[in-house]
C-alpha cells in the first residue's frame, strides 16, 4: 500500500529503534523485517532508510560494525547505544499513546 508521506514522517525512526531494540540488524534486514511483520502492508522506499540510519548513528543512537555472513558477504550491522535504547523506549511510549488516542477518535467517529 502507498502511504501519505505525511503519515510516514517520524515513523521510520520509531520502526528502526524498535526493531534494533530486539537485535543487531543490517539495512536490508530492517526493511525485510518491517515488511514481514506488517504482512507486506508497510513498504517504504528503501533508499530513505539509509539516511535515517546514518543520521541516528551520528546522533549517537546507533553503533555500527561490519560483519561477514556465512557466505562471506559483508554487512553493516546496527545496534542501539544506551542513548538509543532510552530513545527507543520513549518513542515507543509516545507512539502507543498517540496511536491509542487516534484509534479512540476514529472508533468514536465510526461508532
Amino acid at each position: 500500500m502507498d502511504y501519505d508521506r505525511e503519515f510516514l514522517t517520524g515513523t521510520v525512526g520509531v520502526l528502526i529503534l524498535s526493531l534494533l531494540s530486539e537485535r543487531a540488524m543490517y539495512g536490508y534486514e530492517i526493511l525485510q523485517e518491517a515488511e514481514r511483520r506488517s504482512a507486506r502492508q508497510f513498504q517504504m522506499k528503501e533508499g530513505t532508510l539509509y539516511p535515517a540510519l546514518h543520521q541516528m548513528e551520528r546522533a549517537g543512537l546507533l553503533d555500527a560494525e561490519w560483519r561477514e555472513s556465512e557466505r562471506g558477504r559483508a554487512r553493516k550491522y546496527y545496534t542501539l547505544t544506551a542513548k538509543g535504547r532510552r530513545q527507543a523506549e520513549s518513542k515507543r511510549r509516545q507512539w502507543e499513546a498517540i496511536s491509542a488516542a487516534v484509534r479512540a477518535i476514529l472508533g468514536g467517529a465510526h461508532g
Binding site: 539495512g27 513498504q43 522506499k45 528503501e46 533508499g47 530513505t48 539509509y50 539516511p51
Partner: protein
Amino acid sequence: MDERQAVAALIDRLVRESRVGSRRARAELRRELESHFDEAGSSPEALRAAMERFGSADAVSDGFRRAYRRGRVALYVAKVVASIVASAAVALALQAAVNVRIGLGADALRLAPGYGIGARTSMGIVLLIVAAWELGIEPLCARLERRPVRLLTTLAAFFAVICVTHLATDSAIAPAHALVASAVLTAVWTSTIAILSRLDVAFLNRLGG
C-alpha cells in the same frame, strides 16, 4: 546500460551528491549501498526491482546531505580558519622580510618601525580577500599573477593610497619605499588568493569523492 551498470551509476551518484565530508565515510557509504544491492539479488529483474524500490536518488542524496550537514559545516569553518591562518602567516613573513634590519650588537636583528602598520594593513587585506572570496565578490578574487594589467593596476592603486595617506598625515615617504610597500601588499593579496584557491580545491575534493 545494463542493470548492473545502472546500479553502479546510481551508487556513484548517491555517494557524490551526499557530500559526505570524510573519504572514509564516503567509502563506507559506498560499501553499504553496494551491500544493499547485493542482498537484493543478481538477476537483471531483481536489480531493476531493487532500483525501483530504492526510490528517488534526489530524495536519498538529500537525506544524506541533511544527515552529514553538521560535519560539512565544521569542515567549511576549518577551511576558512585555515585560509586565514595560512594567509596571515605568509603576509607577516613577507612584511618581516622587507622590514628586517640587520645591525651590530644587541640589536643585530630588528624590525623597522614600519613593520607594525605594514602587518596591520596586510591583516586587513587578508580578511578583506577571505571575506570577498567566501561571499563570491568576483572583482576582488581574480588571480592577479595571471592578469598582468590587473596586477599593475592593483600595485598602482596601493602606491597611490600609500602616498596619499602619507601626504594627509604629513609624514614623508620616499617613492622607492612606497613602491616596495605596495609590492608587498600586492604580494599579500596574490598569495591570499592562491591559498584560498588551493584550500577550496582541497575542500571540494573532500566533499566530492
